[in-house]
Symmetry: C2
Subunit: 323 residues, 2 copies
């Protein structure tokens, strides 16, 4: 009978859902009685401090994250033999919806018009025909694919960018990160990558200066994929470009430890559109995340390959941790 | 050799485009020398005062509007034998893009978040899963269809509403206006109808009071399809509903004569999203409108059926004209 440790106290309905999906398991919830017996950790970032927990879980074999992003796990403390699976896929549709909301808001100037109209200012701008644009999606995972499907409905040419550059469904073409970074292009660039060693500060001064022009950059992934000081300069030098983001370097929620950068007030630039890390916060996304995480644990317990297994080398000696 | 009268002075490049599409025609541009000879009026709403013009065009047979909406024509002055064609279809894709930008902004709270974040307020809301929503599109013409295609990419159930209720491509179902008005529903309602006798004040107190609840209404058609006093009450009574509109009763552009209603400050309600009638104002839409209008004139001249012929009875004794 495997024992599953939860690092948070679930609501009654959430706990019912967990037990219904994993009827044969035993559970250990805070305050934990016995850390040693648990073989599995079901991890919610709501209580991100795992530093004291993981070293005492002597029988830990598998960590299942509720969320797609696993950058906030204390990677240096996780033993080599422990498999880590991300919650990838659970809220892809919701996150893709937010990516489109940010992209269209920027391309059609919605929040800028809103504020002008409130001041009784009738100031019309010529916007782009969306079917004349090339969108570049950094990341061709389940979120990237969900974004691509939506953008195609607007008649855009959609290019994916991934480490391999392997072609993928729903994209007109896929380029490799190395190729795209050395010659960046795209009228609309959507960041849909996990934050890891390769993607950290991928959008830096070099990429941005070569990009130039009138562009919209949407970020629904992690702030630290963008180097904030370079972004600030680029936004100041390209006033017709827009950065529309759901994620921030100094987030005011405990989802993510406050990362590396000191606070930089990008938020006061006129060409920035901001939402408070809310893409995944939909009516059904939480339940779906929990269900999919439990189903993945079931897969692990049945000796099948869990989905979303994380390549640990992507998270070793990452610049946003002190290890 | 047919003579075509333009009611505005085109730019040089526009005039070249017109002459290239209609190489055999003669043109009469302001200041007009001879109103009597022109058989065709190519009409741009940029100079909307046709009242002095039309009665003097003794040989007028055909009016081609650049724009899809023809509600601003001086209908009472147009003789019965004159055919009127709308510019329907020319900027459908651009208008549908704006409809989606407004809908997603409202459903994902973008302009509200934007203003809160600027005030350093981190206030997260639970949003709807778009694939759980039913969208109702009032109008199943080329704009309605273009909106439907886009909404399907978000997994919504999409219902069209038209006078006939005849089924149409890209819609999961089509209801008749009469049926929908008596039992209105839809999480997202997009107004994509021409303003005419039937649609004037179609969204009135009765419809809104039966609708209730948490809804998003998007208007990219004409303001006067909505009765503003009833809308105001409904928005005040349903603070979680949002009205997101590109069109206004008191527009500050000469596109549309100021219509019936006195100014009502809906714009100061918190649950309103506003853009300044800018849906069709894209890089290529103007050129496309001109090309399609000229091609339709060519069709008329060749004795073929022009597209977009307007049913004149829809515009007789309309409540927004004094006739």
């Amino acid at each position: 009978m495997p024992k599953i440790l939860l690092n948070w106290v679930p609501t009654q309905s959430d706990f019912e859902l967990i037990r219904n999906t994993l009827p044969d398991a035993e559970f250990e919830v805070p305050p934990w009685q016995n850390l040693e017996e648990a073989e599995i950790l079901l991890y919610s970032p709501k209580t991100p401090d795992l530093d004291a927990l993981i070293p005492n879980m002597k029988n830990l074999r598998f960590i299942q994250s509720l969320m797609a992003g696993v950058d906030h796990l204390p990677w240096s403390l996780i033993p080599d033999n422990v498999i880590v699976a991300s919650g990838s896929g659970a809220n892809s549709e919701a996150v893709a919806d937010m990516a489109l909301a940010l992209a269209l808001s920027a391309l059609k100037f919605i929040p800028f018009y809103q504020n002008e109209m409130r001041m009784d200012l009738w100031k019309r701008r010529v916007s782009k025909d969306l079917d004349s644009l090339t969108a570049v999606i950094l990341g061709t995972g389940s979120i990237g694919k969900a974004i691509a499907r939506r953008l195609k409905a607007f008649g855009m040419r959609v290019v994916g960018v991934s480490r391999s550059g392997n072609q993928a469904e729903d994209f007109d073409n896929v380029a490799s990160s190395a190729d795209w970074s050395s010659e960046p292009y795209g009228d609309l660039i959507v960041i849909a990558l996990p934050l890891n060693r390769d993607s950290y500060h991928m959008i830096d001064k070099d990429v941005l200066s070569r990009l130039g022009g009138t562009r919209v950059i949407v970020n629904i992934a992690r702030a630290a994929i963008v180097e904030p000081q370079a972004l600030k300069v680029w936004l100041q030098e390209n006033p017709t470009s827009v950065y529309a983001s759901d994620v921030w370097w100094n987030e005011k929620l405990s989802l993510q430890p406050v990362i590396v950068e000191q606070h930089i007030s990008i938020s006061y630039l006129p060409n920035v559109i901001m939402t408070p890390h809310t893409a995944g916060l939909t009516e059904y996304a939480q339940e779906r995340m929990l269900t999919m995480a439990c189903e993945n644990i079931l897969r692990f317990l049945e000796g099948l390959q869990p989905s979303g297994i994380v390549r640990k080398e992507d998270y070793s000696q990452t610049p946003w941790n002190e290890n």
